[in-house]
Each structure stands twice: as structure tokens, then as C-alpha cells.
């Protein structure tokens, strides 16, 4: 891999009070890659994403986005650097309408025309949202909310998308649709995706690389295919 990786994490450490939640995590994600972050409950997956996106302060280590250090910039600046985080549950603002949620995602861009074009694109991508644009987001189903969350993230025009358990609480069929869509996004626009999943099997089936977290440390990383095949690892950390 001669090309510079789009996302590099070096020795990232984060803590809740005296409890270390992330311990010297190292990761590299190539441009256009889809990688999975796996692990049991409490392994530090969500903390990893929150630290990457600046919601949580890093105690030590660095996060580099295309070589630029973004470790210490505030969370709201990350969209400007092209890194967008869809938190667990999607973070849809249920008090706003679907359209307002989408508009919010693109607000940081200056150009009105560009925002409109984005909106058309995103609505194209998620037909169920188009019919519900003026409805409160609270009326959406779980799958539609996840689509809205991802749609709002795409409005920001990300180069790296951090997704925290998009399949949480969704029916297998809906999960499948969302996973397929991620693959398509990667193919269409060179999007890099970091996917945190509890459901390791479905995550490994669409990703090309996987990181396994245990108690805040990366205990294993390999190609998704090999991780799927490694029985010992599956039993030890992934529970299937």
C-alpha cells in the first residue's frame, strides 16, 4: 500500500475518570476502504468513534486525516475536514422534520446551490425519505431513521464516515439493505467507512478489513475473510 492511508490512528488513549476505555489504539484505514471495528459490549468500540470525532477528549495519541492532525479540534469542526460520525441510534433530531434534519447536515457548506444538489442526490439515494420530507422525524420507522441519519451525514459530503451500530434494533432484511447501500456508496464516491458492529458476522461480510477490540485494546486485526475463518478468535471475542 504505497498510497498514504486516509485515516491513521496512533497510540490513541481515552479514559472515563480513572477507567481507561481506550489503550494505545493503532489503526490505519486506506482510502476507499470499509473496515469493521468489532468486540464485545464495553470493549471500547463506541468510545473509539467518539474519540475519533472529537466528542470525547483523547488523553494521548494522534488521529491523522490524510496526514493532518485532527486530534484536538472540536467535534463541530470535524465536518469541515470531511470526517462525519453517525452515533449509535443515528442521532436523528426527532423534533425536526426529515427535510430539516437533512438540511442541517449540509449547513456548514457555504454554497446554496451545492446544498440543493446534495439534497437531491441524497433523496435519490433513499426513496422512502422523499415521501416523508415534511413529516417530523419522530414518525419514521427504525430503518428509515437510520437512512435519515446516514443521509444527513452524506449531506455533509464526507470522505470518511464513522458508523456506530447502524443495524441496532433493525430487522435482518433492513440491515442487509443498509449494508448493501454502504457498499454502493463506497463504489460510487470513494467513501471510506469505519463500521462499528456488534453483529460481527454481517459486518465482516461486507468489510474488507477488521479490527477486534477487547478492553480498550486492539487485540487482532486482519482481513475480514481471514477473521471470519479464524474459529478461535471468533469464539474468544466475537461470540459466534
Amino acid at each position: 500500500m504505497a498510497e498514504q492511508p486516509i485515516l491513521t490512528v496512533e497510540g490513541l488513549t481515552a479514559a472515563y475518570g480513572a477507567v481507561t476505555a481506550l489503550n494505545k489504539v493503532n489503526m490505519t484505514v486506506p482510502r476507499g476502504g470499509i473496515c469493521a471495528v468489532l468486540g464485545a459490549n464495553g470493549a471500547g468500540k463506541t468510545t473509539l468513534l467518539r474519540t475519533l470525532s472529537g466528542l470525547k477528549r483523547a488523553e494521548a495519541g494522534r488521529v491523522l486525516l490524510e496526514g493532518a492532525d485532527i486530534t484536538r479540534i472540536p467535534a463541530e469542526r470535524h465536518v469541515h475536514h470531511g470526517l462525519v460520525h453517525v452515533p449509535e441510534g443515528g442521532g436523528v433530531i426527532v423534533e425536526l422534520t426529515v427535510e430539516e434534519n437533512l438540511r442541517l447536515g449540509g449547513l456548514w457548506r457555504a454554497g446554496r446551490r451545492e446544498r440543493a444538489a446534495r439534497m437531491a442526490e441524497v433523496v435519490e439515494l433513499f426513496p422512502p425519505l422523499r415521501e416523508r420530507l415534511s413529516r417530523p422525524a419522530a414518525t419514521l420507522s427504525g430503518g428509515e431513521r437510520q437512512m435519515l441519519a446516514i443521509g444527513r451525514a452524506l449531506m455533509a459530503g464526507p470522505r470518511v464516515l464513522l458508523l456506530d451500530e447502524p443495524s441496532l434494533g433493525l430487522a435482518p432484511l433492513v440491515t442487509r439493505q443498509i449494508m448493501d447501500m454502504l457498499l454502493q456508496l463506497r463504489a460510487d464516491r470513494d467513501l471510506t467507512v469505519v463500521l462499528v458492529e456488534q453483529n460481527a458476522r454481517s459486518a465482516l461480510s461486507i468489510t474488507d478489513h477488521g479490527f477486534v477490540l477487547n478492553q480498550g485494546e486492539v487485540v487482532m486485526e486482519d482481513s475480514s475473510r481471514r477473521l471470519l475463518a479464524d474459529d478461535r478468535m471468533r469464539h474468544a471475542y466475537l461470540g459466534f
Binding site: 472540536p74 465536518v79 438540511r103 442541517l104 449547513l107
Partner: protein
Amino acid sequence: MDQFINLTLNGLSQGAVYAALALSLVIIYQATRVVNFAQPALALISVYIAYTVSQATGSYWLGFGAALLTGLVLGAATERLLIRPVHGRSPLNAIIITLGLLLVLQGLAGMIWSNEPHSFAYPMDYRGRFSPSDWFALGSVGAAALMLFALYRFTPLGLRMRAAAFRPEAARLSGVRVGLMLTAGWAIASVIGALAGMLAAPPFIFPNVLDEVFIFAIAAAVVGGLENPFGALAGGVLLGLGMSYVSGYAGPELTTLAALAILVVVLSIRPDGLFSRPTARKV
């Protein structure tokens, strides 16, 4: 009958003032989950500044502008300097801070402008049934409410402010500077509070002039539901009419107790106010 009409008209213009102050409380409550007990004091200082400016320049309207500007600055400064540090702590902390600020500002007003009442001008002719001043009160509060609605509903700033108030974390992830939006909310609310002060103060201004108005405003906000700006407006008009009738038919000294009675009756039927949407409370 004639008295009834007079009381109704009077109630409407008074209600507009309560509605404006209630609206300022609701905006702040929506943004930061704080009932700003210092709101009457911020308005008070604004009105005193208007008094001073008007005295110096001879122009009521220059004073009016100065009052709104003062409200803007004071509101923003209060949020930044006093409320932000206790953000996320027990709500009692924020309440006590605003109460402390109330004491400080009322005391400062007394120190600077003395506790004696000064005469303070109406914006327009105030004589007669539904005078130009009454019209002005109703009209300016109505205009302020409309502008606020347009701001929240149709502008990017309004969308950011709403997002920041509802889900601060999700807003941040979309690139919204949440802290700035909360400051903006306090600033805008305090401009409306200053407007309410300008309408409520005449004919005299003294450090406690807005206390009673504030009681009715908070009653209006609570009756309407602290979460709902339209509720605050409706609650304000309701309280204005109610207080006008009570004052006219039963006696002015009973108005605050009547406000309390309305409050208790409404809240015992709907504990979160008339216009609140039922929401699940966090367990």
C-alpha cells in the same frame, strides 16, 4: 358591558407584555433548560439604560433602541459567563445563579439610579380606551413573535439553534457550534425581555417595577408549557385577560393570588402546561 369591554382591551395590551416576557423565558428554557429568574433584572437594566439615553438625547426611540441592544449584550454575557460554567450540573445550580444575578442587578440599579421612582414615558399617547400605546404594545409584541417564528422556522441560524437546543450532540456532529447557538438564544430572548420591560415600566421606573409583571409572565409561561413558544403567547394573553377581570371585578390586590389559582388549576389538569406535547420523561 362597557366595563367588560374596557377590561378586555386592557387585558389584551397587558397580556401582550406578559406574553413577551413569557416568550423570553421559554426561549431560554428551550435552549438551556434553565428558568431564567434574572430575566426581569436584565430587562430592568435595559429599561434604565433607555431612561438614561432618553434623558440625555431627548429621544424616546433612541432609548428604545438602546434598551434592546442592552438586552442583547446582557443576555449573551449572562449565558457565557454565568450559565455555561454550571451547564450539566443540577438544575438547582442554574436557578440559584439566576436568582443571585437578580439580586445583584436589582441592587445595582438601586445604587446607580436610586430606589426612588423616576417618571418614565409611554411610547405614544396613552389616554383613552385602547390608546396608541396599547396598540403599540400589542403590535410590537406581535411583530416580535412573528419575526422570531420566521427566524426559527426559515433561517439556517434558526435551524441551528433548534438543533442545538433539542440534541446538542447530534448538532455538533453536523458542524453546529452549540455553545454559540445557546448564547444566541439567550441574547435573542433578552432582547424580547427588554421589549417587555419597555412596555411594562411606564409611568414610573424603580428597581422592583417588573417584579409583578415577572410573576404573571412566569405564570403565563408555566401555564402555556415551558417547552412551547406558542403556549407562552397564549398563556400571556390568557393571564392578561384573567388578571384584568380579577382586578376590575374583585380588586387589584387579588391578582397575584388569582394567578396562583390559575396556575394550580391548570397544572393540576395538565402538569406540563396547556400546550405541551406529552413526552416521556427520562427515568
